[in-house]
């Protein structure tokens, strides 16, 4: 096997083989190989958006599923995300030029007191990969910070993340403040993090709890579509 491996030349693979190989390389966190694959597909005339969805997001979806199923763990997922980032940095400027379809906009951040941002970073990347514009507020966000970002960015979605049982109640503080200001229903609120569960998400007044990054993307798409339907029904 090992001898064969060294002989693998990406540019000699046909499109289908190459994309399949890129799935594997993403899975193995091989950043340089992913960058090479993206460049080859660009040379072959693929639209940046097609490379993004078919090669990168397709590959990350497998990674996300295997993370969910306990086959991959955080170290592997971080490596895969890093490889994806390499591909994204080539595609991002091109996507902006070619005016790829915009799914919606999300403001995301880890709640006050919580610095654990692995999950949040993964969600950001997968959301971007799926065509959302993501404004990442980073870690340790107080309610004021979230509100300010909602005001200035006017996103469709607010995403909040917490890893600790001691910080997850803060999500409710943010949602309650949004209610007080009468702006809760202007946004889709998605929450996530290891100690949370669906019931908890509902009880604090979020629209949905997303158990992993792949679910977050699906849920976001679903809610944005519903929101658009509602708006056209009202109009």
């Amino acid at each position: 096997m090992a001898d064969e491996d060294d002989d693998l030349i990406l540019s000699e693979l046909d499109d289908e083989e190459l994309v399949a190989q890129m799935f594997d390389d993403l899975y193995d966190g091989l950043k340089e190989e992913i960058e090479e694959g993206v460049n080859i597909l660009l040379e072959r005339g693929w639209e940046p958006y097609r490379i993004l969805t078919e090669a990168l997001v397709g590959g990350m979806t497998i990674v996300g599923k295997d993370f969910r199923d306990g086959i991959l763990f955080v170290p592997e997922v971080l490596l895969a995300a890093n490889a994806m980032k390499g591909g994204m940095s080539i595609l991002k400027p091109l996507l902006a030029e070619t005016g790829a379809p915009r799914m919606g906009k999300m403001v995301i951040g880890t709640v006050k007191g919580d610095i654990h941002d692995i999950g949040k970073n993964l969600v950001s990347m997968m959301m971007e990969g799926a065509g959302f514009e993501v404004v990442d507020l980073g870690i340790n966000n107080a309610v004021e910070k979230y509100l300010e970002a909602l005001e200035t960015e006017q996103p469709d979605i607010l995403g909040m993340s917490a890893l600790l049982t001691t910080t997850m109640p803060y999500m409710k503080v943010v949602i309650d403040t949004m209610k007080e200001k009468g702006i809760r229903d202007d946004y889709i609120v998605l929450v996530g993090g290891a100690p949370l569960n669906e019931e908890f998400g509902k009880a604090i007044g979020a629209d949905a709890y997303c158990r992993d990054a792949a679910v977050a993307v699906e849920t976001a798409k679903d809610f944005v579509a519903r929101k658009h339907n509602q708006m056209s029904a009202q109009a």
Partner: protein, 337 residues
Amino acid sequence: MTDALSALLADRDWLLADGATGTTLFNMGLQSGEPPELWNLDHPDRIRALYSGAVEAGSDLFLTNSFGGNASRLKLHDSQDRVGELNRAAAGIGREVADASGRKVVVAGSVGPTGEIMAPMGSLTHESAVEMFHEQAEALKEGGADVLWLETISSPDEYKAAAEAFGLADMPWVGTMSFDTAGRTMMGVTSADMVKMVGKLAHPPLAFGANCGTGSSDLLRTVLGFAAAAPERPIVAKGNAGIPKYVDGHIHYNGTPELMADYAVMARDAGATIIGGCCGTTPEHLVLMREALETRPPGPAPTLEQVTAALGEFSSADDGTGETTGPTRQRRGRRRG
């Protein structure tokens, strides 16, 4: 000289540890997102009440309010310069409560994770992790902690860095990891992996084990996994009192005191020596846990079926140990992984 924990372990078949710190402090008015460690100086009376709650409920040891007391975590609240005073106070109050109890109670200086990802994947180097843990260790020692107590760790590298730091502080210690991701730690460590890792440390802990995670069933499966790997040192079981739910404006854990009493006995039968609770475990739970450990006779290790029948289903079908392996992806494998 023998440390206080080793002395107790030599005397007794099991020890009751404490319950939740965060849950109890929230009930005293801590606001979510605020660092509990500041209370060691701002509200020492409340911290005294926290410790006394465990001691009066019958705990043989309790953890200090210093879980987030390392520079990396305190930095979030611009308190990174206060590691020394906050940890000294955490242990100092503990010393007073333990000494006034009239029996042998161990003050365990709690040390939690830095929250950072270690190099090469993340930015935290081994050296700076050791430095942070060492700083906290020295302060807990000065404050009067009998042992140090590392908890909720997911990365083996971070566990090793803490072990090294505690060696520098010349302190005996205990260290538990959180197995919250399909029966493994977030970083993929299985119960068997941990036994192996602990066995190789230059400054090994007095006891090792599992805390927090996702409910008490999973935690017992992990304890059974430790026991199956024939560890050389005592096992710690500190499970959550069930699953967190939001009820009437408060976080509530669905594990009743009666269930936690069953959990405690099953943990002992599974091979744990130091048994306590984690998130959601109140003094009320601890009282019944103590009573159960004192009155119910030891029995054979519970089977996985008995664990789920008593405490609820596991969060995942498999925990990465044993003959049966979980789902694996059929990869094309044209390159070496």
